[in-house]
């Protein structure tokens, strides 16, 4: 109120600041509990989004790393010199479009690869160990793996091409199922939140029966009453969503700090191998903000729907 209040004879419960207080009394709504529920749900949903985004980014990185390489395997055959066949294969691969280089693994590298199975100091000459050639691609789109496979099969005795398709498929399946599980969890959390808002709205309606009746006798339309409740629940939703979303940002910061600080400690390599350097893309931040907005809107529309339904029941 701009108009100065005249001194009242009896003390008012609180000094009036506006001539338009909320028609639905805020304290009759189980506000704090609902804000807490919404905050927790938003926090968990946000973590799910972050998790899904990390897995998806990591999977994309794996795929592009692996997709930028193919391997030519040359098995020693009777009547051939593996070294000559390897040379042939390297020369052949280098001719292909999209290939930036082809390099045969040296004996030392091959020994190191086999070390976990065969132990140190293996004599490669005495074993029929296939030789590997790493073909790096600078333009995977221009590269035709089938043509290379055909050429290798034709010209290199004992040669075959592995484009890692099997691995990529497995990784894709794993990443996709993680993403789907994440989305499923997200949906369940949002449904649980909607249900708690419905309960809270119904409780608020029951607690404000007299207010609703007076509004009805003043000629209020259901739309008006629902709007009053909705405004209130929108505030609660925004508050809960902001708290949950804020906690998500804090959790991301803490996780990044821990992962960063873990470098060099045991286990850090494993984390990094799995998830890459822990980092959240801007899209994930965008999704988090969208989640907070969606939570507020969802809370408000749910309460509106619940109010209109119970108003219809009253009249």
């Amino acid at each position: 109120m701009k108009r100065p209040a005249k001194p009242a004879a009896a003390p008012a419960p609180r000094p009036p600041v506006t001539g338009r207080s909320a028609i639905v009394p805020p304290q009759t709504i189980a506000g704090r509990a609902l804000v807490l529920v919404i905050a927790i749900m938003t926090f968990l949903a946000g973590l799910t989004i972050v998790g899904v985004s990390v897995v998806e980014d990591a999977a994309r990185a794996w795929r592009s790393d692996i997709g930028r390489e193919v391997t030519i395997e040359v098995r020693p055959m009777d009547g051939t010199t593996p070294a000559a066949e390897v040379q042939k294969a390297v020369a052949l691969a280098q001719e292909f479009p999209g290939v930036s280089g082809a390099r045969a693994l040296s004996d030392t590298e091959t020994q190191r690869l086999l070390e976990p199975w065969l132990g140190a100091g293996v004599d490669l000459g005495s074993l029929p160990v296939p030789r590997l050639i790493v073909v790096s691609l600078d333009d995977p789109a221009a590269f035709d793996v089938k043509a290379l496979a055909a050429a290798v099969a034709k010209d290199v005795r004992g040669g075959s091409v592995d484009d890692h398709a099997l691995w990529i498929d497995r990784l894709a399946a794993m990443a996709n199922s993680t993403v789907f599980a994440g989305l499923g969890i997200l949906m369940l959390m949002l449904i649980a939140m909607v249900l708690s808002v419905v309960f809270a709205t119904n409780a608020a309606m029951a607690g404000n029966r007299d207010v609703i009746e007076v509004l009805h006798f003043c000629g209020a339309e259901d739309r008006f009453i629902a709007g009053e409740f909705q405004r209130h629940f929108l505030m609660l939703g925004m508050k809960g969503g902001a708290i949950g979303g804020g906690l998500d940002f804090v959790a991301i910061a803490v996780l990044s700090y821990l992962m960063h600080g873990a470098a060099g400690r045991p286990g850090a390599d494993q984390y990094e191998a799995l998830f890459g350097v822990f980092s959240i893309g801007w899209t994930a931040y965008g999704w988090l903000v969208a989640l907070v907005v969606a939570v507020a809107v969802l809370t408000a529309t749910t309460s509106r729907f619940a109010v209109r339904r119970s108003l219809a029941a009253i009249t």
């Binding site: 109120m1 108009r3 209040a5 005249k6 001194p7 009242a8 004879a9 009896a10 003390p11 008012a12 419960p13 000094p15 009036p16 001539g19 338009r20 207080s21 028609i23 009394p25 304290q27 007299d210 207010v211 009746e213 007076v214 509004l215 009805h216 006798f217 003043c218 000629g219 209020a220 339309e221 008006f224 219809a312 009249t315």
Partner: protein, 203 residues
Amino acid sequence: MLSDLTFRIAPHSFQFLTGPSGAGKTTLLRLLFLALKPTRGRVTLFGSDTATIKAADMPALRRRIGVVFQEFRLLDHLTTYENVALPCRVLGQSESQYKADVVDLLDWVGLGDRKFVYPPVLSGGEKQRAAIARALITKPEFLLADEPTGNVDPTLARRLLRLFYELNRLGTAVVIATHDIGLMEQVDARRMVLTDGRLEIYE
């Protein structure tokens, strides 16, 4: 509770509804402001039968009716000013549209210095006046008041009666339920007397 009543409230008319306590005055008023539906018989308001009226049409009808409840029914979390302004807010008016009217009316009913006080600290008479102001603020076509002077002294009762009378002169049909004989004697108006659920009308 009520049986075999037939009457008509003419536009711009002024009448008292009286009778001993428990005679059914409040029930009759509740039928008139759409809080009750008759188990038998017909109540027609502004030309629409209340039995067949659609829920969506109720608000428009109720906006033409002002009600003063015996138990006031003020909202405790709103100030006197906000309580009186409530029907204007329901109509979608902005504060600048109704502020002057609300302040004038509060001054008229003697609540000018109680604008920003909450109902729990108002006296019975003050609550009553606030409830009356809330019913009058939108200048309804039809005003129903249940014992509107029950909690005020005779001087203020006369003042409030004059307020109802002024409103009637501006075109509102007024029904005042009361058993205050002194009040009724001040105005030469139609009297509807309810006894044991039956109605007699003295024009």
